[in-house]
Subunit: 318 residues, 6 copies
Amino acid sequence: MTDLVTFGETMLRLSPPRGERLETARELEIQAGGAESNVAIVANRLGHDAAWLSKLPDSPLGRRVVGELRSHGVDTEGVVWDPDNRQGLYYVEHGAEPRPTNAIYDRADAAVTTLETDELDLARVRDAELCYTSGITPALSETLRETTADVLAAAQDAGVKTAFDINYRGKLWSPEVAGPACRALFEHIDVLFTAQRDAETVLGRDGDAETVARGLAEDYGFETVVVTRGAEGALALHDGDVYEQGVYEAETVDAIGTGDAFVGGFLAKRLDGGDIAEALQWAAATASFKRTIEGDIAVVNPDDVAGVIDEGGRGISR
Amino acid sequence: MTDLVTFGETMLRLSPPRGERLETARELEIQAGGAESNVAIVANRLGHDAAWLSKLPDSPLGRRVVGELRSHGVDTEGVVWDPDNRQGLYYVEHGAEPRPTNAIYDRADAAVTTLETDELDLARVRDAELCYTSGITPALSETLRETTADVLAAAQDAGVKTAFDINYRGKLWSPEVAGPACRALFEHIDVLFTAQRDAETVLGRDGDAETVARGLAEDYGFETVVVTRGAEGALALHDGDVYEQGVYEAETVDAIGTGDAFVGGFLAKRLDGGDIAEALQWAAATASFKRTIEGDIAVVNPDDVAGVIDEGGRGISR
Amino acid sequence: MTDLVTFGETMLRLSPPRGERLETARELEIQAGGAESNVAIVANRLGHDAAWLSKLPDSPLGRRVVGELRSHGVDTEGVVWDPDNRQGLYYVEHGAEPRPTNAIYDRADAAVTTLETDELDLARVRDAELCYTSGITPALSETLRETTADVLAAAQDAGVKTAFDINYRGKLWSPEVAGPACRALFEHIDVLFTAQRDAETVLGRDGDAETVARGLAEDYGFETVVVTRGAEGALALHDGDVYEQGVYEAETVDAIGTGDAFVGGFLAKRLDGGDIAEALQWAAATASFKRTIEGDIAVVNPDDVAGVIDEGGRGISR
Amino acid sequence: MTDLVTFGETMLRLSPPRGERLETARELEIQAGGAESNVAIVANRLGHDAAWLSKLPDSPLGRRVVGELRSHGVDTEGVVWDPDNRQGLYYVEHGAEPRPTNAIYDRADAAVTTLETDELDLARVRDAELCYTSGITPALSETLRETTADVLAAAQDAGVKTAFDINYRGKLWSPEVAGPACRALFEHIDVLFTAQRDAETVLGRDGDAETVARGLAEDYGFETVVVTRGAEGALALHDGDVYEQGVYEAETVDAIGTGDAFVGGFLAKRLDGGDIAEALQWAAATASFKRTIEGDIAVVNPDDVAGVIDEGGRGISR
Amino acid sequence: MTDLVTFGETMLRLSPPRGERLETARELEIQAGGAESNVAIVANRLGHDAAWLSKLPDSPLGRRVVGELRSHGVDTEGVVWDPDNRQGLYYVEHGAEPRPTNAIYDRADAAVTTLETDELDLARVRDAELCYTSGITPALSETLRETTADVLAAAQDAGVKTAFDINYRGKLWSPEVAGPACRALFEHIDVLFTAQRDAETVLGRDGDAETVARGLAEDYGFETVVVTRGAEGALALHDGDVYEQGVYEAETVDAIGTGDAFVGGFLAKRLDGGDIAEALQWAAATASFKRTIEGDIAVVNPDDVAGVIDEGGRGISR
Amino acid sequence: MTDLVTFGETMLRLSPPRGERLETARELEIQAGGAESNVAIVANRLGHDAAWLSKLPDSPLGRRVVGELRSHGVDTEGVVWDPDNRQGLYYVEHGAEPRPTNAIYDRADAAVTTLETDELDLARVRDAELCYTSGITPALSETLRETTADVLAAAQDAGVKTAFDINYRGKLWSPEVAGPACRALFEHIDVLFTAQRDAETVLGRDGDAETVARGLAEDYGFETVVVTRGAEGALALHDGDVYEQGVYEAETVDAIGTGDAFVGGFLAKRLDGGDIAEALQWAAATASFKRTIEGDIAVVNPDDVAGVIDEGGRGISR
């Protein structure tokens, strides 16, 4: 049995070296990156069997994605291979104050945007303990919006717990579209992750994190709501109780993927049987550790996370 | 006044190091490449003012293309900037016998495919001495098929000579579509370049190179027809006379762009006032020289071409 | 069920760039490489479920090995993790005539050398269709010599076919030790691969390839004997019939791993249900394709092998 | 018509990777860099037609310089090609506290040091709106000292505004030589840029920035005097009015070229018709942005500068 | 005559690029590193003839070590070449808060661990002015424990001053073993270096640095005791007098080797005839400078150290 | 005592990657290279104590040269440090048929060009067994022409054998200057190396190699004359006897330095006490081996040379 099944797009990410701009670059690093596979990777690396469902072009580029996910132990048997459509890409130019890190998406017409429910082997969803996707998936196409609803409903019907991160991307859809689309999925969701900022932008939720969490839990019946607040840490509401977790300080090498590492750490600890407080701690530690690593992917092991929690500090181990 | 104006798509080309496969690559080299800009670059480097007309996304990627073309002296003032559409890409995995070099195109919906005639400043065409495009351009979209016809017609109407290379790409269109599309443009063309193989595949022309050239000249009234035959050299028909040119041997580092270097060398010599035999010789020498350079672009100077013609052989100059 | 299970050591391979010597290098490429995992990778890439059994240090280096094998789809669940011993290494300096390619092994005391039978989950062997190892495995330690015999016996007892490549390495053991050690394993072997040179050096078999094959089949009752003869191709003896296969020409980027690619291609085709002639053809084509790729690993797909067989020749696919 | 013409030397800059010293380096990055071309590049990138006048060796190295400047849109048609003399170089070893960044010049006998007035097409100066050079140019040779005076005088005579940055380099000349040489040019200058430190070292001007600016304006009749004070920002005096501008904070990747970016931003905004306060703001923002980019060159676009002014802060744009 | 002779192991150090983890690396930088050769290098670079005694495999890897040491001027004539044993390695993964820098040793059975006294040319020790080793050497094997004692005794008997750094490595031995082993060497030592932390862990010395120093000097009769306290600087006790030295601030690129740079700077200044206060200052300045350089080795010159002492501050020198 | 002392210039060599042109390069490899130090390196690597005399700038660049030579064991104590002048450079663009490898020298005003006899410690020459320089040294400046004569005369007076390679470089001087300059040195020379082509160009010697050798020996009294004929091998005349040696075939990675490797191999074998035939064989084998290595320097060991002689062929050693 799979512990965690995730569903979404994984792109190839192309980045010039630090200090160089895309428009003068000669070499780009290439790596796989996508919110849902990032979460699956963390869950795997922290000791769980995680699978990823998606659709990829049947090409070296699609195989490039699968190869990298498999190297971290992710089960990719559920990938649908597309003979026609393209591989989604994104470009990342690493910033330095005051130059922002810039992500340029080139994911229109990616194979995954055509993924229909009946192409998927839903048994892979029904056999899992937990099913995860993020708001990026329904943002990618009308087709995916329907498929996402079907996947989450299938999980729910089979008694599989579901988790969802709003993960709002202004370059993909507007709040006016995202809001109703996300709300339509909420009936199928047990665990909701949202940045406080997204809760306001997309769902129109004002107030402090606790107010937001309580309001959402009340309105939609979530079992757990986790609200992240950037450098101010995270808050979780579960069974009416509130849990707070600060941020572990980090020297940031690459901030992209931090949110996914947080979700992955949280879900992995929950799958371990950890309580909400422990899950938040693993979430925060995994997120902090991720920041020190180039690329979307949190190349992390259980000892690494435990080390952050135990010591926080750095040094040389010899 | 511009000596040569070319019109077409320039992509960004992404390649892993030699001996590596795309599906396991970690780094890709990035370079601009496109048949028509390759020709413009050669013309510029060999001493002429050459311009390139196209449409690019108004993004770091589009500016990446323009920056590289400008570095070789190409006038890019006529580029139309597109706020919406994407930059065309292609991936090249360098082969080694028996593994073929593999080009994977990712150029659907590139900005240039939406380029309509009235977006272009046709004065840039009318002010040139010579106008060039290749069969790749009309292959890219219906819109471009019309725009290509309009550009060539505008040149013709203004008394600007026109040159066209069939440049058939089976990954872009079928012979059934390409044949009529190319033939529809022939009325506007003065100088036709074609691989003998393309003449057969696309235009259904059998027989030896001379037969092909004479047939085409007769049927469409071309001033010059140049038929290339790979390792067997090229043949030109001009004013009824036949000229033949062998190939200069080369140690091939990168074969892509060889055909464009050939065309560029030919047109540059013609713009110099060279006769057909001289133009063929410059074409062959430039093509040979190109093969020794990584990337689509023939980074060549007049002395380099003259050196190939004079000596052919290599050695160390010290 | 696993189609193929292989058993042996995988090292990390460290190589300086071409044209550089180890003793002046500043950067080394690192890749996983080992005869048995190389075979498992090929089988996987050509469409079969292949697993690899071994023992690795529980360290970033051991995980480095597993990550790379998994990226090619190999099942590494059967790896035994060792808290104490080291990761085997080897250094490769790429040669150029007259400078030989030089492999320096640093594999003494590698974790795998301590692997005892009862650490292994032999159910993974018994559940496979085919079990493979090479003469390198028993060469590594006394312990491994026993474990190898146990693994092959377990396979045999469970009705799993077994395959073995002599794969003689003079830097690991002498013919005097290797000969008896290999012969002691032959009773458990169905399919024997041997270089003609190894048959002479290790087993003292003179004569042409057919003589060698017939002699070995007669003396040890092998179902199939495959004798490779470098550039002169391979010969197989099966059910008394002889099959011959020439070599597909290749521009060699990296010769290391060619033999493993041959075995992998052969076994994959047999697992497909191919006959001996087909298996030899796939073996030769996969081996030829491997030569064009940097590293031990044949990054190959079924279409690639079919392409070599169909066309042999190279070119540019666009 | 050209908006801005600049005049000076551009070197090739050679740098080892960060954290490495020149004396143990194996690889050097190569980039073009020179105060006046740096300014021309910024002006071009921010929307103006800028040209650069100089003399370069007619060699791959000279063409390397021109290619890079052209990639940023700079008009290099006015470059004089020298068959004999060498290309100026400089080496930069990036420092880290307490190790200083070290620039080693190797520019003696560079082609530009032999540039005489009558080699130049002064029409290119007379046709511009603004003419810029820095104190580095007259520091390079006696010949250039005269040519610089001639160029500035030609501009002045043609009614072209002139701008000059003291840009004192102690490795090129002493204050005793630089002082009179600069003062001799002041009669031709409309806009003077000076670091407060240079004003003291070279011109013997004590007191605060305003005192320095007022003194210089009074003594030499400058239309505008801009005094920069490192981390304390800049002060401009124009028509008797004083304008002050703070520094935008930056995470410094490469400090070299910051002053040129400042000048380029200032002049570009003035050419846009901006007032002194706006020009100072663009100067400061462009300078800050430059610091985040490896190399001498401010690879900047108008939106980037506007972004610094609007937000200052960094983040991830997605 | 040699000024300084050092004795110990030098490994090859393998590191992935910053921000990458060992378990996903594709390229490793390779450099020589070892406490005693690091000290010899600093002494050489700061103007003294320093030699290094050790044993290395007679292989490209052993020659790789010698080549790098010689490039910094170290006399390696006293190296014993071993036909059989291996080259010690260590892997360094550079950390970033909260991820620690991780050193993984792979030095078991290195050639040096078999080095016996009678293989060494002790005349090289007896002819020196000063002899240095660290606690790492006796930690590597029983054999080396004896050889170390013999080398130090030989120096002492010949009237050569001896210096020793405890340099405790918990991955090599326990305090229970290290304590007696170090104490057994103390009778041969004139100058002792110890981190305050090591004095407590290994020697059980509590109290502040001065207390530790006075206790050790009293108990073992050291001429000089230097106690380092990380960011709090160092304290030396010499002839009953106490000297203190703060730390020069540094932007740390690579902390490994800082302690060796400290020792090297101290000993070099003492060999120059400097007093204890001067030696401490050079030690601190060299250590600070080392931190800005990638790798174990302090690529430093006398002017660099003087620059740190004179100015401390950074900037751009041009 | 030094076995071999060589005298000449060593430059830093800057090369773009293969397949790239200098005028578009972004990265250059940097390595030390110079005819006389190349010879000293080979002699050292093949077992002799070799020293190199020259003058270098007292800068990181000069130290870069010395560090690399020392890494190969060359004694650089005799280098004169120059506070003022520059480091000589040369650029190498690797060619591929029909594009020639191009060397661009930037060595004018290098420190070594100012080297006068009284700056040198001639005892280092007088204490050697053999003294070597090439025709490049006197080509560099008038001063060096005199110093070269003085060095050779000092050797001769001290009974030190002398060797000289014409090594004609058309980019440094004309045959009209080189001829008399070389002839003026011949009275001090015992062993002359010359390419047959140089003998004709510089010395006006026609005829086959033997005729050339006999003529030169007769006219100038050389003990040994070695005439190299490219792919046709070499001929030596010694004591009236003629010895011939063919070329060992090689896959050429970098041809530069092949001639120096030849001389180095020859002199090393002679210093070993080998006869002329043996010396020629080592010369040819070392030259062949050098061709397989990137850079000027023959990174070669005695076993490598013996391997070429014994086997010639390549393969994989494992």
